[in-house]
Structures are given as structure tokens and as C-alpha cells.
């Protein structure tokens, strides 16, 4: 008859070979890892991430404030020039100013004004502050080539900025004198 040990259950085996302690050790370790260590480390990592984000935002805010300081100092330095900028590009359409500028330039350069008209102008002139709003004036005049060139120069030298969108110079007809030309022009100005 053999004298082999016949185990009754698994615990006996485990106890015999001291595995029960190991199993319990790992079970309890797992419990602690899952329910205590993992949530704690997770909180720490999340706090670390939040801290990084806040540091980044703080850095950007610092940059923004530095830019604001630069802007403020520049505005203070250039405040006197703003009035001049407002004269270059008006805040309102100021059609009367636009017309008088053109009329005076035409007269000064011996051009005879035939027609002058403006379409689609918002006279209240509430600019959108985002981009300059255009006012386009169409006109017809007669005069010489040289006079018209001087008229262009005169318009360009005026304080309120204007630019030629289009112009056409043509001979009126065969019978009229050589220097007399028919000039159609489109002038634009901005307000902002």
C-alpha cells in the first residue's frame, strides 16, 4: 500500500506549499493598487496636467499683457498723429468734402466739368470698423491730356486719400480742337 499524501482540497495543497500567503499577498496588493493607489495617482496626474495647462495659459496671458503694454505706449506716443490719420481716411462719408476736393482740382487744372454723380452712398455712414467702406464717384470732364495728368497729381496730393478706379480719355470728335479730350473717370475714397 502506497503512503502517498492524498490532498483533501486545494487549501490543503496551498497551505502545504505556502502558496496561500502568496495568493493572499497578491489579492490584497491588487485590492490596494486598484482602490487606493490607482485613484490617488490618477488624481495626481490630472492635477499635473491641469497645472501644465494653467502654466501655458499664464504664459500666453503674460505675452498678451506685454503686447497690451506695447500697444498702450505706442498709442500714447502716436495719439497726436491719429487726427492726421482721420483726415487721410474720414470716419464718415463726408460727400461734400469729397465733391469740393474734386471740383476745386478740376477748376485748378483747367478741366471743364460736365457730369458728376455718386451712387449707393450710405449718408449716415456707419462704418463697420472692420474694413474701409468705399465711396465711388463717377465724373465726366473735358480738357487736355496734360491737364488731366496734373489733375491726377493734384488729387493724389490732397489730404483726404483718393484713388482712380478707372478712367478713359478719348478725342471728342474730329471737329473740335486737338487739345480738347473727353475724360470719363471713376474716383474712389474710403471711410472707416
Amino acid at each position: 500500500m502506497s503512503r502517498q499524501f492524498e490532498p483533501k482540497n486545494i487549501f490543503q495543497i496551498l497551505l502545504k506549499k505556502n502558496y496561500l500567503y502568496l495568493i493572499l499577498f497578491f489579492l490584497i496588493s491588487t485590492f490596494f493598487i486598484y482602490f487606493i493607489i490607482y485613484p490617488n495617482l490618477k488624481q495626481l496626474i490630472l492635477a499635473g496636467r491641469k497645472l501644465d495647462e494653467l502654466r501655458n495659459i499664464n504664459k500666453q496671458s503674460d505675452l498678451a499683457i506685454n503686447k497690451i503694454i506695447t500697444i498702450q505706449s505706442n498709442i500714447e506716443r502716436l495719439r497726436n498723429d491719429f487726427n492726421f490719420l482721420d483726415k487721410l481716411i474720414f470716419k464718415k462719408p463726408a460727400i461734400n468734402n469729397f465733391l469740393s476736393d474734386i471740383e476745386s482740382s478740376l477748376l485748378k487744372n483747367n478741366l471743364k466739368l460736365d457730369k458728376l454723380f455718386i451712387n449707393d452712398v450710405d449718408l449716415i455712414g456707419k462704418s463697420n470698423q472692420e474694413a474701409p467702406t468705399l465711396v465711388i464717384l463717377k465724373g465726366e470732364a473735358s480738357g487736355s491730356f496734360g491737364d488731366f495728368y496734373r489733375f491726377i497729381q493734384e488729387i493724389h496730393r490732397q489730404t483726404r486719400l483718393k484713388e482712380f478706379e478707372k478712367f478713359e480719355i478719348a478725342k471728342e470728335n474730329e471737329s473740335t480742337e486737338a487739345s480738347s479730350l473727353k475724360i470719363k473717370f471713376e474716383l474712389k475714397t474710403n471711410y472707416l
Binding site: L24, D62, I75, L85
Partner: protein, 174 residues
């Protein structure tokens, strides 16, 4: 009668002893490690939280400064747009004057212009000349100077007494 006697002593370990054995040799390591981690987390969390609160306060203050400065920024952007528009207009004005001056200086006396159209950085010149050579020289001069990117001589026609032509010029190059 036979009596079985086991000569190998087998000590009987009770549950209490096993429990204390486990606690002493196994559980204490678990508890110590867990405690070390918890203390590490606790102090770091404390440090992080303090820093987070400080940063949040600092950011809130800076945001207030930015909010207060909004009109200033808008004023700056307004004038910035104005300056941009002024620069663009000035550039266009100088370009037109240069183009016009260039044409005035280079159109030969033999050529008579009947029509000149300017629109968005391009010119169309129509005219006539008694001498076709002057038209050819004018065209070659334009090509050689290369001040306009596109130079096109079209509609060269012979009339009874003269030669009609149309030249289109596009994109001024400084």
C-alpha cells in the same frame, strides 16, 4: 490490537498564528508601500493644488487686465486697419503716376492717341500713326523696358492715310 503512532511531529498551527504570520511577513510590506505612495501623492497634490490656486488667481487678474484693455486694443486695430488702407492707396497712387509718366515720356510724337483707358493696373491705348515704323519702335521700346508684364499689340490696321493700332498693357512692374 495494533496502534498507529506517528513518529513525525506535526505541529498544529492555528488560524491566529497563521494570520499574524501573514501580517508580519506579507501585509506589512503592502501597507508600507501603500503608505509611502499615499504620502508622496498627498504632498505632491498639496503642492500642485497650491500652485493651481495661485495660477488661477493670476490668470483671473490678467484676464481682467485684458478685458479692461479691450477698448484700447480695438482702437489700436482700428488705426492699424486705417494705416494698412493708407499704405495700399499710397502704393496704388504712386504706381498710377509712374505708369502715366512712363507712357507720357515714351509715346513717340508720330503717334496720335485717340483713346486711353485705365482700369485696375492695366492700360489700353488706341491710336494711329502715319509711319508704321514709329508704332513698331514704340512696341519694341515697351518690350525692352519690360515695365509692364503683359504687352499686347493688337488690331494693327492700315487705313487710307495711316495705321491704326491698339496696345494693351497689364501689371506694372516697378
Amino acid at each position: 490490537m495494533k496502534k498507529k503512532i506517528n513518529l513525525v511531529y506535526k505541529p498544529k498551527i492555528d488560524f491566529k498564528e497563521k494570520f499574524f504570520y501573514f501580517v508580519y511577513y506579507y501585509l506589512r510590506y503592502i501597507l508600507v508601500i501603500v503608505q509611502i505612495i499615499i504620502i508622496f501623492v498627498f504632498f505632491n497634490k498639496l503642492r500642485y493644488d497650491q500652485e493651481i490656486i495661485d495660477l488661477e488667481e493670476s490668470i483671473a487678474q490678467k484676464n481682467e487686465i485684458i478685458t479692461i484693455s479691450k477698448p484700447l486694443i480695438e482702437q489700436f486695430l482700428y488705426y492699424y486697419r486705417k494705416i494698412e488702407a493708407i499704405e495700399k492707396i499710397n502704393k496704388n497712387q504712386y504706381a498710377l503716376e509712374d505708369q502715366f509718366q512712363y507712357l507720357l515720356n515714351n509715346i513717340p510724337k508720330e503717334i496720335v492717341l485717340t483713346n486711353l483707358v485705365y482700369e485696375k493696373d492695366s492700360f489700353i491705348l488706341s491710336g494711329y500713326s502715319l509711319d508704321p515704323e514709329s508704332i513698331r519702335l514704340f512696341y519694341l521700346k515697351l518690350k525692352r523696358d519690360n515695365r509692364f508684364k503683359v504687352i499686347n499689340l493688337a488690331n494693327l490696321k492700315k487705313n487710307i492715310n495711316n495705321y491704326d493700332f491698339v496696345v494693351s498693357l497689364k501689371t506694372w512692374q516697378k
